[in-house]
């Protein structure tokens, strides 16, 4: 276990550094930099050319944008590792204060969507496997595929309309006015849940088909296994055979593909939050990418990477708990 963890942590550090490099290269691909964007917007704003140039030079020097790109990268990653994420060029405030709760909310919504996916997908998957090729099975698969096929942004749009015009609930915020500034409490958490169902349903429906299929397919496999036949021939009730013997093992692939489904969840979270304009990391990232606010976008993307690396690690550890045949060595 210790050897495994040490080795895993080592590869995680390597992946982390590689990802940070790739991220930094990608966000630097755009022509020009933040200040050329700003200048393009301000041109015709009445600033004399020499002042504009001087302002640009000062700004670049202040934020290290005058350095070669690879030095920019080293400075950024060194600061990031020491906990200093730099200043957002767009907002003129430290990245850390801008992010605040936003990242936590992003990850929370992703996790909530995963829960939603499993709560819906697993029971339907079990039903599908035990009622193979019935009308119910086909209908469930169809609905699952439908959820997979509706674009996230479109479903978000439709649910937003539903919320605003049918049940008269404002969107684009996670807390009602009364709780916005309030400290965390049970009431505030409930309030959050009330406002959170739209993004969770949107992101969750996209993943339900996958969960459903995996669960159904594996359970079907398990139901044909000799040990299930043994359990049946012992005279156990079918319900117990399915629940205690087959379903338990059929869970494994769900957990082992968790690492692969996390990026999808985060993807869905990003686009849904942008469409609904939720106060999560998504809209901030989008804004930063468009304005070439490199420190802000690089930091958010890097946090996504950390979240995924940790998620993968936890999935691996959970798998050993679930299946005694798998050992971490």
């Amino acid at each position: 276990m210790t050897v495994f963890l040490v080795r895993r942590l080592f590869t995680m550090v390597i992946s982390f550094l590689l990802m940070s490099l790739v991220i930094f290269i990608i966000i630097q691909l755009a022509p020009g930099d933040f200040i050329t964007h700003l200048m393009a917007q301000m041109s015709g704003g009445g600033m004399r050319d020499e002042y504009a140039r001087e302002f640009a030079e000062n700004f670049r020097r202040l934020h290290g944008l005058d350095q070669p790109k690879w030095i920019q990268y080293f400075i950024w990653i060194r600061n990031f590792l020491t906990g200093d994420m730099g200043h957002s060029l767009l907002h003129g405030r430290p990245v850390a204060t801008l992010l605040g709760d936003r990242l936590a909310l992003s990850f929370g919504i992703s996790a909530g969507s995963l829960l939603f996916t499993w709560l819906i997908g697993i029971p339907i998957g079990i039903y599908g496997a035990t009622h193979k090729n019935t009308i119910g099975d086909h209908a469930a698969t169809f609905v699952g595929f439908l959820g997979l096929s509706i674009p996230n942004f479109f479903l978000a749009l439709v649910l937003m309309i539903f919320a605003v015009f049918v049940i008269d609930q404002p969107v684009g915020m996670l807390f009602s006015r009364a709780y916005e500034e309030a400290p965390w409490s049970l009431a505030k958490a409930l309030d959050l849940a009330k406002n959170l169902w739209i993004p969770i349903v949107v992101i969750g429906t996209a993943g339900t088909a996958g969960t459903l299929r995996i669960m159904r397919g594996n359970l079907l496999d398990m139901l044909g296994q000799p040990y299930v036949t043994t359990a049946r021939s012992k005279g156990l009730k079918e319900r117990i055979v399915v629940r205690r013997h087959a379903v338990r093992i059929a869970f494994n692939p769900l957990v082992s593909t968790l690492g692969m489904s996390l990026p999808t969840l985060l993807s869905g979270e990003t686009i849904t939050s942008i469409v609904l304009n939720l106060p999560t990391a998504g809209p901030l990232l989008f804004e930063a990418l468009l304005a070439e606010d490199i420190y802000l976008s690089a930091s958010i993307l890097q946090f996504y990477a950390i979240f995924l690396l940790l998620g993968n690690l936890m999935a691996d550890i959970a798998l050993t708990g679930l299946d005694p045949r798998i050992r971490l060595e």
């Binding site: 439908l146 096929s149 674009p151 749009l157 015009f165 468009l290």
Partner: protein, 372 residues
């Protein structure tokens, strides 16, 4: 004298092994959902290729007097309930005195005959065929907006058909790039192994482990706004397929690894075949069926990705348009609620992606009936 055919008579529909593709086709044909999806997709692609022929209007023609007009019905019964030649009523505009919103009603006093194969603005199909006939039109003075109009009074049906050309071609071009990259890198990884394999596999892991949308956003935000729209189109396609090839390369690598040690490959090598011949003659054909499956299943992701990017405004740029752009053009949720027909492009995306999902699923079942 001809010797009698030693082969027993085979009823083709019972299906003994007759080649590689025939059994696959038979299994596929049994999947009704898959076949239906395939047919719907063929119809959609036909409509897209001949978009100008099927659109009543040029896609960018403005009709300033009929902004946000609701879909018009083609009627075949006149006011007395008698069957007549198809016609449309004129629009009657009324301003709501309270909300100041324009409402459209049918003006029952004015009828316009619907005409088929009418002469209209000249157009081109597939870049070369010039024509002027359009499938459907209406008498001089009348209008035929079968799916209504948008904010600028442009015919939505014509715009949806035009947008289909982008929305439906992006996945094909993207899948082509995915397949080429996936095959080359997958074969290289599996056949040569060693350092090449390690580098490619680690790179794929990196790609697959990162969320697509943020990566796509980052890459497409980097496209200079000054680029012409066909450059932007190609770049978007490249960005979308940049991630997809990883999954395919992994599958191909696994297959190549397995086939590499097979007798027929060893025999080919013993006979003096070079790497290139072994790869193209003996390894790639073995991966073909799986390649088709992975390629079909990668299409939905590309369509969804393109529409999401376009919806957010970092996708295809004017004068090109796609279904995602059309929804963005609906301007606001208030506009969408008051003009429900503006959501039709969203339904088009959903139907297309659904069909590709079913089709890919059916192909997978046909190619590999034992997979779960």
């Amino acid at each position: 004298m001809r010797s009698p055919d030693p082969r027993p008579a085979v009823d083709l529909d019972v299906g003994l092994a007759t080649g590689f593709w025939l059994p696959i086709w038979r299994r596929f044909r049994k999947n009704r959902l898959g076949v239906a999806s395939g047919i719907i997709l063929m119809v959609l692609y036909t409509l897209a290729v001949f978009a100008p022929f099927f659109s009543p209007y040029p896609f960018d023609e403005f009709h300033g007097k009929v902004k946000f007009a609701p879909p018009q019905r083609v009627r075949v019964f006149d006011d007395e309930g008698r069957l007549t030649a198809p016609f449309t009523y004129a629009y009657k505009r009324q301003m709501d005195p309270e909300t100041l919103a324009l409402n459209y009603h049918e003006d029952r006093s004015t009828k316009y005959r619907v005409r088929f194969f009418v002469r209209g603005e000249p157009y081109r199909v597939l870049f070369v065929i010039s024509a002027t006939r359009r499938f459907i039109g209406v008498e001089e003075g009348g209008t035929i907006f079968l799916l209504g109009t948008d904010v600028l009074g442009r015919d939505l049906l014509s715009r949806i058909l035009k947008a289909a050309q982008v929305s439906l071609s992006v996945p094909l071009v993207g899948t082509f790039i995915t397949v080429v990259l996936g095959l080359i890198l997958g074969v290289a990884s599996g056949y040569f192994g060693g350092v090449i394999d390690d580098v490619i596999q680690r790179f794929i892991e990196l790609l697959l482990s990162f969320p697509h949308i943020p990566l796509w956003l980052a890459l497409s935000a980097a496209i200079p706004p000054t680029w012409p729209s066909n450059y932007v189109y190609l770049t978007i396609v490249a960005i979308l397929s940049f991630i997809g090839w990883g999954g395919l390369a992994r599958v191909v690598r696994g297959k190549v690894l397995a086939y590499r040690g097979e007798e027929y490959v060893l025999a080919a090598r013993a006979a003096g075949a070079r790497n290139w011949r072994i790869i193209t003659r003996h390894l790639v054909p073995g991966c073909l069926s799986h390649t088709i499956v992975v390629a079909t299943l990668s299409i939905p992701g590309i369509i969804l990705g393109e529409s999401a990017l376009s919806y957010l405004g970092v996708g295809v740029t004017p004068p090109m348009t796609s279904w995602g752009v059309l929804i963005k053009d609906a301007t606001s949720i208030h506009a969408i609620v008051r003009h429900v027909w503006l959501t039709i492009p969203g339904l088009m995306i959903t139907v297309t992606v659904l069909c590709f999902n079913f089709l890919g699923d059916a192909i997978r079942d046909a190619v590999d009936p034992f997979a779960t």
